[in-house]
Symmetry: C3
Subunit: 343 residues, 3 copies
């Protein structure tokens, strides 16, 4: 059960209601009007809880679960005890996520402007915004309805933040346009100056970075991640893309819709990432290359060349996963062969 | 000599006192009551200073040192000049660290609440806390005795920080319980929302992240590092673990006691790290795997499978160090062989 | 054309004036006094704009450009349309950068101290400083003339920041001396405690970190990057060095002049980096080694040994680039050979 100090539960729901909300078929359910009180992991659930299992691996836990309802795929429904009501779903985890959001909706900070916030006289605040203590909203900035800006964050001049977006604590936004329902986690830096200059013996001349960072609707950008603004073109993060913590996005990068970019990955300047691309943790993507729609990149890979849509790649330099697995096998066997020679 | 603008020296100590405090035997010491004024590196020490040498490599520096006392292992004591008083120790560096802490104890910020701090009326502050300018202490937060919260940091609702802990500047804490004598460095993010969601063509559904981040006593978490809270279970950092800068700890990760996690390492969700594990810089640890007690991981490795206690591993994917070294040798010789073919 | 909400243009310039400022020869120019209004990319330029092309690859774009002036190397001057005035330059990109800075000079925040800034009574502020809302300037800190400190940043006790330097938002400085015209981007941490301690079963003893971070003139340090102070010696970043985002610089590291250190690179404690060294993204440099002047390190490399001046290296462990390329080729062919065996 989530710690009540940190998470507030919202309501209870009948089994029938929950099944309907996820479009799942009810099985073994003697009392569809029974009230469900909370969500829980299958092993920890008690009476009144709803849980889920995804596949056969959890059949043991399922058999001994004390939950009142379980969401599961049809092919293991017969492994559940008779006492357990079932909601059948092709995608139990996704269904559970929906129900978890019912019980624990995203909490919003209280509406209003904290006394210690510094809101410029010519900033525009929408209805129902929440501005935390010490937050700074600069001249010309526009915050849409219901926007939250966390404590001690900075919203620069003329920056726009769309309705329903949340900016976490200690974050900084400048030279950027943020869509609706975007979440910027604490410490993220959006729209900072890109790494562009001309260097030689005579010294460094910075190239003015005159583009913007465009963050489309429903994007999330993780804690302490950085999205530089463009150098002339814009840097763009496409709708619904999820970016984890400590990720670096260089200037002019274009990321498509619905991408997933995991922790500590880095995308160098002017790279173009398609839609629904998955980039695992600590990956590096070289500048000026293109990753097609649906490309998947294994963790720690170094992607150095343009990659066709749908490819799954790994290694440094990255190659198709099948080749990468062969390379790994070959290196392992080389290691063993050298061992034989040592004998 | 440390720059007096930044470091305040505390007291002087007699040679006898210093030897006693580190449990070291005094040798060649004509005047145990002689007062020592400061610490110094062996090459830079002058009269009145105490220094240390760890091994034979420093015998030359030892011979010409102007220090008044030197901490060293017994096996090089006869290489020291007669004029130098000696404190014999099995672990000279550790002994020197103790003495350095005597001369330069951790400085605490002045007690009190800065005028510009925003402390909620229902926060609980222990005795002798120090709250810097612009710091935000939210409703229900509990700070133990002697806690320091640096300028412009954020302590979220109901967060607890144990006695004697220090939160650096511009850090953010939410959904977490922090033990005693913990140090959170500037810009660290603790308890942020984990990277959990269900994604498909229909869009992303976030899985509410309903666990906490538990930081046990005596832990240190480096600048701009991130520790996500759990998704349901907690994320736990065990007692005395030291985490360097820019490290990413995913949701549900459990780190044991006394671990060392170096800069820019990343540990993916639900990994379990034993006690006294050492993870070098830029390492990635995959999700859901387990590293046994005392495992050591070489820099930049990618750990993809569960590893038995005491193993030393390296490479990506990581293998036992002996095998990794063979792999490296084999690859090097392959590179050379290809060179021959080019001729 | 840059978004006027974020970028303010400064003046117009005659073609003759622009050519003189970059020391370029005018060709095909019927009216040297013609006024140029703005900069633009070659493909997007319209009448009144100045653009540049670097080499033959852009000859097509050049031929159809609507710009009024183009900076280009002499060897493609004959490929430009007659209607286009030309400024001939050996280094068109560098020349363009100079001109871009004329049109879009670095903007400075308005002079003055924000009402919500916390400036200690014994801090010293130079002429024309700009202190943002919520910024904290501690006792004894010295800010030179024209220094900007962004919103909610922290400048610790006795820290010095030289004339004309800019500290971005939410950054933290302690135990450091910052030169002139330095730029510290948002969220950077300078002078934090290094990762130094003695650990064993009995627990951890921290080694007091008694050195400073010295940031020389004209250095830039990227968003959310960390530069630890020295442990006794100083950490030094040499004049004109450019550091990108999310970079980690360990204690006692010495970086020379004019280096370029790209995003997410990490340099471990006590490493010594020469002048004009280029370190690409996600590189790791081991502690206590030395990189000679002009060394270039490929992305994601792991540098584990001292490297002679001028070497170009890659791989992990890093080897000369020629060898690294051979290794990569050999591994690729191994992968293919294993594929044959599978048939």
């Amino acid at each position: 059960m989530p710690d009540k100090r940190f998470f507030r539960k919202s309501g209870t729901y009948s089994i029938a209601d929950l099944a309907a909300r996820v479009g799942g078929e009810l099985l073994h359910c003697r009392d569809p009007e029974r009230i469900i009180e909370d969500i829980a992991a299958v092993e920890e659930a008690t009476a009144g809880d709803i849980c889920f299992v995804e596949n056969r691996r959890y059949v043991g836990a399922l058999a001994s679960s004390a939950a009142s309802v379980c969401i599961l795929p049809r092919n293991i429904a017969d492994r559940a005890p008779d006492s357990l009501a079932l909601i059948v779903s092709d995608r139990p985890r996704r269904a559970f996520a929906k129900i978890a959001n019912l019980f624990y909706p995203e909490e919003r900070a209280p509406t209003g402007v904290a006394a210690s916030a510094a809101v410029d006289a010519v900033a525009h605040l929408g209805e129902g915004v929440s501005i935390g203590p010490g937050a700074v909203i600069s001249a010309g900035a526009k915050l849409g309805d219901g926007v939250t800006v966390g404590a001690n964050s900075f919203v620069g001049e003329n920056v726009e933040v769309g309705a329903g977006s949340v900016v976490g604590e200690n974050a900084s936004l400048s030279h950027c346009l943020i869509g609706e329902r975007v979440v910027i986690y604490p410490g993220a830096r959006i729209g900072t100056c890109g790494f562009g200059f001309e260097a030689d013996e005579a010294g460094v001349i910075k190239m003015p970075q005159l583009g913007r960072a465009i963050i489309e609707d429903d994007v999330e950008i993780g804690a302490n991640s950085c999205v530089d603004r463009g150098s002339g073109p814009d840097t763009v993060i496409g709708r619904g893309t999820m970016i984890d913590n400590l990720v670096q996005i260089g200037h002019n990068v274009q990321v498509g819709k619905g991408c997933i970019i995991c922790g500590q990955a880095g995308i160098a300047g002017s790279a173009k990432i398609g839609n629904y691309v998955v980039i695992a943790g600590q990956v590096g993507v070289a500048g000026h290359i293109e990753l097609g729609d649906g490309v998947q990149v294994a963790a720690q890979s170094g992607v150095t060349s343009t990659t066709a849509p749908g490819e799954k790649i790994g290694g440094a330099p990255a190659v198709p996963m099948r080749d990468f697995r062969r390379q790994v096998a070959a290196i392992k066997s080389l290691g063993r062969r050298n061992k034989d020679l040592e004998k």
